[in-house]
Subunit: 335 residues, 2 copies
DNA sequence: CTGAAAGCGCTTACAG
DNA sequence: CTGAAAGCGCTTACAG
């Protein structure tokens, strides 16, 4: 491995001077600059990041902590974050917190601390942000937090208005009895969506709303719709708390030979690609997930490079994507 | 941050001695060992990995390179690898190579080189393994390689016999005209599956096989089945080169109101969870993907710790998982 | 503008 | 069994 010393020797200067051009910092004469640049190219020299890290207390790496990488929401997010990370000269550590107890996650965070990880993207509820803040002064970007966090950057989607849009859409196609299967209420996301649903159903004469607790999984969608149908056989619209629930609902309705959307229309939330592989394809409120990943990495690196630690909260818009599960005519035309 | 020097001072010994107990290496008297251990606990000291890395030329981190983390095959793999990695005290760098030109990937690999990454898990065809071997002497585990690689560990699934099992299964339920939509032939996986299909269809009197090129995507499944039906309206079985193709096929058959499996039975390959969210659920040859991820990380770390660099090739069995898309009776009973 | 020196926090021969 | 010293490959005041 060629070192800064080798370069210095060949260029006839001191390592310090080479370091200066490497870091683009401090004075270096035109003349030496040119020759050093040339030698660096010739030797194809790349500074050892570990050594550099030791003095700079930085590793040029970010950590992304997700609940479960096999959940399409998180893998999409990871893809976006990874792209920008790599593009800006960093690398991305992946941490899967799912199912682990907070204690273990704390251990892992501690472990990372000793590696001079430059910043964290937190996309999981398995870590207590307050604890995090107390223990780590590293830059962090928190996704889908339930509130702004002092000195950190939070990024979320406007779940409240997204939910309103979903509900209004179901109403607009004529649904009269709409059930919302909502996610766990410790999750800000789930809470906001439920709130949006409630708001939209208020003062809707002729239509009524039912709220049913679920847990953001396909299985939960299947079980919820079974229960709902027992109690309310006249439901004609489902607003699922997320796409996985919607997928479960669609699956079970298919099994029961209940026609979607003729008998029951279904709308999800998230915009994961799975909503396009079911039959029928599922209408959903699409979050810009990939973009959130990119943005998270971009903001994080900005914060690192500029020692920027103001409180910052970014809210992205979700948008309604209409597909077969709520378009009666589309299905009609196929028949 | 507390350093080894702080510990040494408090314990009344030299940093060298503390280092010895930290690394469990060299002689340390019982007496000092006990007190040093105590102080380490008290101060909650954890050695700085970067400093340690600089001297040991190691970073206690592995890199996982995948084609596309949003592909469920890879995210499942990543999950398994991440679990073991973390469990054994390492961390996992994620690299998404998809769509990038090899040159850019080479750059990225170079970048990682300077971080003392201890080993690589390569699960992508976007990197030329020969080039890799020439440039990096790091331990590596290669997944789904087309052949054994000297001094490295390769892990793959027995695609050939898996394909035979899939085909025999379709034959066993009475399919007479089976089409295999195969993946790109530069991919060893695709090649082996096609070979298995050919072998099984040989000497099958009363049944005939059709081979049709696809590309391992949902879209490809949709397009392939359209074309196939034009030319061969009497097809009654599809063996898809992978699950994504199978999902596309199922989707299109649903749209065309062609009954699965009564009119056409469908079998996929891979065992990704998506095969369980379609209607009907899809019969597939299940690869132990999660386990492959675990195994890859486990072998890699073993190689790192034991300087083990023998050629090693591991082949895992795939197993047939029968679901609705090939079980005529199950569907019958529902009607 | 440039180089010698000290330092980042650890580990590893080496001498005792 | 233990400590002083050198070294891993950089960067950063500091002096000139």
């Amino acid at each position: 491995m060629t070192t800064i010393r080798d370069v210095a020797k060949l260029a006839g200067v001191s390592p310090a001077t080479v370091s200066r051009v490497l870091n683009n910092k401090g004075y270096v004469s035109e003349e030496k600059l040119k020759i050093i640049d040339k030698v660096i190219k010739e030797m194809n020299f790349q500074p050892n990041q570990v050594a550099r890290g030791l003095t700079k207390k930085s590793s040029k790496t970010l950590a992304l902590l997700v609940t479960d990488i096999t959940n399409p929401f998180f893998s999409e997010l990871a893809k976006g974050a990874e792209k920008i990370t790599q593009q800006l000269g960093y690398s991305l550590l992946l941490g899967n917190t799912g199912g682990n107890n907070p204690e273990k996650n704390a251990d892992y965070m501690n472990f990372l601390k000793n590696k001079y990880i430059d910043g964290f993207i937190i996309a999981t509820h398995d870590i207590d942000v307050e604890v995090l803040k107390k223990n780590y002064k590293s830059p962090m970007v928190i996704l889908e937090a339930d509130k702004d966090i002092e000195n950190l950057c939070t990024i979320k989607v406007d779940n409240y208005h997204g939910a309103i849009e979903a509900t209004k859409h179901l109403l607009s196609i004529g649904c009269q009895k709409i059930a919302h299967i909502y996610g766990p209420q410790y999750d800000a996301t789930a809470k906001d969506r439920l709130r949006g649903f409630k708001t939209s159903m208020k003062h809707q004469e002729g239509s009524s709303g039912i709220e049913y607790p679920g847990d953001f999984s396909i299985m939960s969608g299947i079980e919820s719709i079974q229960e709902l149908l027992k109690k309310h056989s006249d439901i004609d619209g489902i607003f699922a708390g997320n796409d996985l629930i919607a997928i479960g609902v669609v699956k079970e309705l298919n099994r029961l030979k209940i026609k979607i959307p003729e008998q029951i229309a279904v709308c999800g939330f998230d915009g994961i690609t799975l909503t396009q592989i079911t039959s029928p394809e599922i209408t959903t409120i699409e979050q810009p997930i990939y973009k959130m990943g990119e943005l998270a990495a971009e903001r994080l690196i900005y914060r690192i490079n500029h020692s920027f630690n103001e409180t910052e909260s970014i809210e992205l818009k979700a948008k309604l994507v209409i597909r077969e599960s709520t378009v009666k005519s589309a299905i009609d035309s196929k028949q």
